[in-house]
Symmetry: D4
Subunit: 228 residues, 8 copies
């Protein structure tokens, strides 16, 4: 008997974004209903436009219609899905994804999968936090080979400063929400990245692996946007 028919609004997808700035709009699925997600997929299908979905929980994935589920390349750890293949992936990894602890794996995964969707291969160097400094030192030469380093760390985020003082390439910090007490929710790690005593480190939002990957793509110029 509702006088005003309510519905979830049709998304206005920014299909033009790839042409404009070389990065595809990703669908951020947190709090989205199955009908909303399927609506966006339908729009992409009708244009044969590949699509990246982030923050898609297993519960949300399982609530999609089987027809959609079977066509998604879904990874439950990073909670990402890819619809229609993205760009073909390069062979040489150009980004090193370095993490402080194994609990940072979901954020690393979101980063790696976003890069792959845009055709960029990466190297994972995980669980090398500075409490045991040798773990990082053992891998340093390998890390230095990549023009871009994405560092993921929670707790006090000391990894960012140590790495920034040893590596001359681009260092993008992704604070993760790993920790408890004063480190709860990633704010401490975020602020450590911003106030790092090592020069020229840049930062994205807490747990924002997608954003770090996009920043790397801007740096690599693989988004076709740079002419300088």
């Amino acid at each position: 008997m509702s006088r005003i028919a309510e519905h979830w609004p049709q998304a206005v997808v920014d299909f033009d974004r790839g042409a404009r700035i070389g990065l595809e709009e990703a669908v951020y699925c947190a709090n989205k209903q199955p009908a909303q997600i399927e609506g966006v997929l339908t729009q992409h299908e009708s244009r044969s436009h590949p699509c990246l979905l982030t923050r898609l929980s297993p519960q949300q994935f399982n609530a999609l219609a089987e027809g959609w589920r079977s066509r998604l390349d879904y990874d439950p750890i990073s909670r990402t899905a890819i619809f229609l293949d993205g760009r073909p992936c390069g062979v040489d990894p150009q980004v090193a994804v370095v993490s402080g602890g194994s609990s940072d794996a979901p954020v690393c995964g979101e980063t790696v999968r976003t890069l792959a969707f845009h055709g960029v291969a990466s190297t994972r160097v995980e669980d090398v936090g500075v409490a045991g400094l040798w773990r990082l030192m053992d891998r340093l030469e390998d890390i230095r080979r990549h023009p871009v380093v994405i560092a993921v760390a929670g707790m006090e985020g000391a990894l960012f400063s140590v790495l920034g003082g040893l590596v001359g390439g681009v260092v993008i910090a992704v604070p993760s929400s790993v920790g408890y007490g004063v480190a709860a929710a990633g704010d401490l790690s975020l602020r450590s990245a911003l106030a790092s005593c090592a020069p020229g480190i840049v930062t994205v939002n807490i747990d924002n692996g997608y954003g770090a990957a996009c920043a790397a793509l801007r740096v690599l110029g693989l988004n076709g946007a740079r002419s300088g």
Copy 2:
């Protein structure tokens, strides 16, 4: 009669940093005494090593011995000084420094001067905040020509999102401590940069023009550190 002779400690300058990661250590002068600053300059002089000083207030500059003052290239707006020439500056500007308001000028200046010290020319595009969107649109083509854009904004930092949606190059946000009430001290602008709806924007600490310039140098690979 003090049993323990107190003195300001001798700074341990990281002269090796340029060789290691391609960025020179800058001397952050806030709260430093004249004797401390002169001690650092003396160390640089004995090695003929150029030196960049940041956050050097006019009061601090005037408290230095005349012998030092006359040999510093000092700019009171950006509160930076250069001792012994840095690298020769390139001709083509590779970085656009874009600001929301004219009160952001000290931060823009610190950015521009740090780049110049490392030999990189830049273009200033100031006072183009989004309350009058035409101001930014008028300059958009010019901005797009640069592979790196450093955006400086205080208050609510909406400039970051608009710029990030229109430009495909690297966008580095520098939140400035311009504003009052809920925008006091730059924290709001910082968080707006981090949570921007435009993909792939990266951020540095509040008012950290030096850090943004260093990040740009990492991106441009002019620090000689990249091999990828």
Copy 3:
């Protein structure tokens, strides 16, 4: 065996409010028990007084007695219910409800339904965030036709400043709790609205679509309260 008989207290409904300031008291249902809600409905029924319920979750709605459920115009997205028809709705929309993303739909819905309850029609313009500026520009002429614009946005809330610089009517910002990390819970978007560089934007509490609608009614003078 309780010595003190405990019960939820009878609500003291402000039935006089409509006559006094032209706005009906709405029943804010968060954390209310079914018996409390039914008690309020009973009071309205005995006076044939229409009633608006907000923040009524589907769980709460389903816990009401069937006799009440069947007489409520309930919308699960906006979590609002209307009991007994409100004022007849005007034909010309006087309010544009503009949102940054499709996840803002529940707040938009609460706004639109509150307006309708008071007899005011509105136009929805959703998912037009500034990361793809063309989406907003495409709808600008339509938006400008309304004397009041209610803007709903989460994350960094850049929509408020861009809109405020382009539209001369009344702009009421509703920060939404959409976002994560530093944008969690809407506080960032709220502060962006308050510190906006565009002049004369006003703000209500986070997710407060009901309050924005009431403010619009005050502006439109349709609450019969203005004599100036």
Copy 4:
């Protein structure tokens, strides 16, 4: 000997703003140098464009050249100055400016002077905080006669809720930074306005009398922007 000539940048004044949204850009002077302020005045003079300056401290005013000082209508309490007359002021006050305490006078003054610059007269009702409720009640009928009420209060901001429950016109809250301890800097009063139990109150930034006046102008439609 500076290789890079530093200067404060020329402001890019949004002269078009009046035509676009009916509100003139004001010059926010906090932290601006005399040369910057005089540069803006020069731009206005060359176009015979009236100009409003806000947050201009007596120290800043006295540092301007005498030629400029003598041509400014300066008020030290509200720290505002008007250059070249604004619009002629109407006779009937359309806005009531109500404050909780006499320490709120600077904010009230900024509000009243901004309205006058745009040609709108107002009524001041000051020092009527709710600790002595009779003070407000004595003036209630007078307040109700105005279509817009701007309420200024610091400390706990209870005035907003009491006023909002008694007045049916538009109520714009301006939290002021009056108070100490937990009320320091206006944040408490701001949040009280936003969370008020009275419906439809809207809020601007702390101490933002200018913004409240602009909002009132949007409401009154005297900015020529509304067509609805």
Copy 5:
């Protein structure tokens, strides 16, 4: 096979407290296990010492052994239980418990039950928030008859200031965690009580009905502790 036998420690009940300061120790049950609660009850039983339990959720109550449950006077709204009768209750109410909204009922209940456990009757005046000021005014004479007024309010807590300006007895504010957005979790209401413009209001922790009742007992001197 645990080398260290782990167990919840035996509580060290402060049975002496009543004699020392006239207030009985209450058992704060949040996060306590059934075995812990039953252990405390056993200690009280062996001394025939009455006991008040607070924050005992229905889930916790139901997890107790039937033998204990049947001997507890349990109230699920206030989440309090009384074991063995407390002091006989006086006839004349000496405390008025006044609340802003019906959602404050759990806190009011904890207050009233704690007072009753110590033998003090009280009057409940609920849902009289200041958005409809007549509701409070209608009850003012009744409220004034009590030497102590305990005021419970969430959201912006304007009730405290209005009441404190109208009543000359002791006013104890209990901020409640009712509200959302900027009023979430009671901190705003707490700060409004502390910064109230009405003189001599005192405050306890958020939702601390037990503490407010204890403070009232100290004031009334019914705890036998005063000699002045």
Copy 6:
């Protein structure tokens, strides 16, 4: 040449407050101009109404006209002044003012002087913080003789809990802004008072000695307001 004559508004003194709730309005002088303060004094003089001024700094006091200065009973430590004698002071102290450290003296003084203005004598017990528990224990019997104890403490505020567990009378905590680092500005001490494990402690705003004294007057019923 100001079109709008600006002035500090005439204060609307709540002379009726004493009759209504038994407490006189005090003039909070922080940020007030000499002319404002003298205006209030003039109003009191014309009615022969005694007046208490708080937060009157030596600078402000010295800026008053000599005619006013000579008639004020001014104390620079507590920054209070009394104009025209208040009520005659009783002989038996009814309030103990207990402090943790000697730096709390200004707050203690504001408390003692406010009580004296209303005719109540008090006992000062200072510098008895719990780091040396014997200091408090030595004075405990004396403290217990007073029906009301006002406790003033900064830093971590442990004094409140220890005192509250040993004294059965009314305990009013006044957090002071003494401390540094995490204890800066009194917020920590405030929260310690509110969350104290000792039952029935009540609290006022940081440094609010005036408010604590008013609360004591409400408790003692010397304000003539209680009939219960």
Copy 7:
């Protein structure tokens, strides 16, 4: 069909830590998957290296394979498990673990079990908060016998200051997340420990019983690392 095989990364255990600093790496299990935990156990098994697991919830423990569960010494209250026996435990307790309330038991347990894993016995003195000061005084002589005292307290943390003023040994404060309202989540207790008026108290993160035990081991020199 995932192009990128996702998996939880293999942990890089710091087996060398014991030799380097005398403390074994513990496995922090919060948010870890069963497969991750079992992977770490497998690594320890292959080296016959004992292992301590912390923050292992009963749900997580029960999700491990039976083969692992039966070989773990698991304690559900402290949520710790020991795999392969640690060092043999000494006879004389060298650490007193003192708590304010019985709800602190999980943190006490984590402390005691970590010490035992490293071969150090301890004495538990629980539920001796300062609201009933006699409880602590009764045990003071016993506490003083230990060279290290670990104090665990939530709420306002007054225990730390009282203890620190009475005991001359090492006092390590562990703030616990016990409390509500302004004491929620342990931040208040943490800050009370840091700002304590008693000299020389040191602090670890909220609820960090493991860290406090490690600090005690460093103090006792039982980690074999000290040569001074």
Copy 8:
């Protein structure tokens, strides 16, 4: 004409503290008046009791009577003074004081001077922050020779974690208020110390060199308090 003679209260010095817990009470001079400081010195003189003064600014020192000034061993960098010699200082340094930057010198000085007052020598290792990791590594063997390491660092405090992972002795972190933007006032460094991924680090309040020294004295047992 003041009816109540106001004075700064006589301090109640805890002369017994040395005997009780082996640490002398220090006089924290921030905000203290000359008369207060001289009063405390007089009390110490009459007992020939040595005295340590902390946070004594040069302004405060110069305001003391010459008779006192000449007898104080004052150090302006650490803002400490010693009255009457403390204990004779040992020869072997037992504490290493390690700092991240030369701006941490005042805190290092307060630490070193407090240790010396109690008879303990220390080694200073300054300006060895982790941005140039070699600076710390060069000094590591020397640092490891001390049973206690006091680490002082501002900004992001990464030094604490790196040091804690490399050193097996006691590590006491002192966060310093060096930094700007998100690192302002030391809170970030404090939280990094507390959340460090290196085990067993303990922390004191921001800039609290005195407290760290006292903690070291407790650890070394040189305060005569340990019997374990």
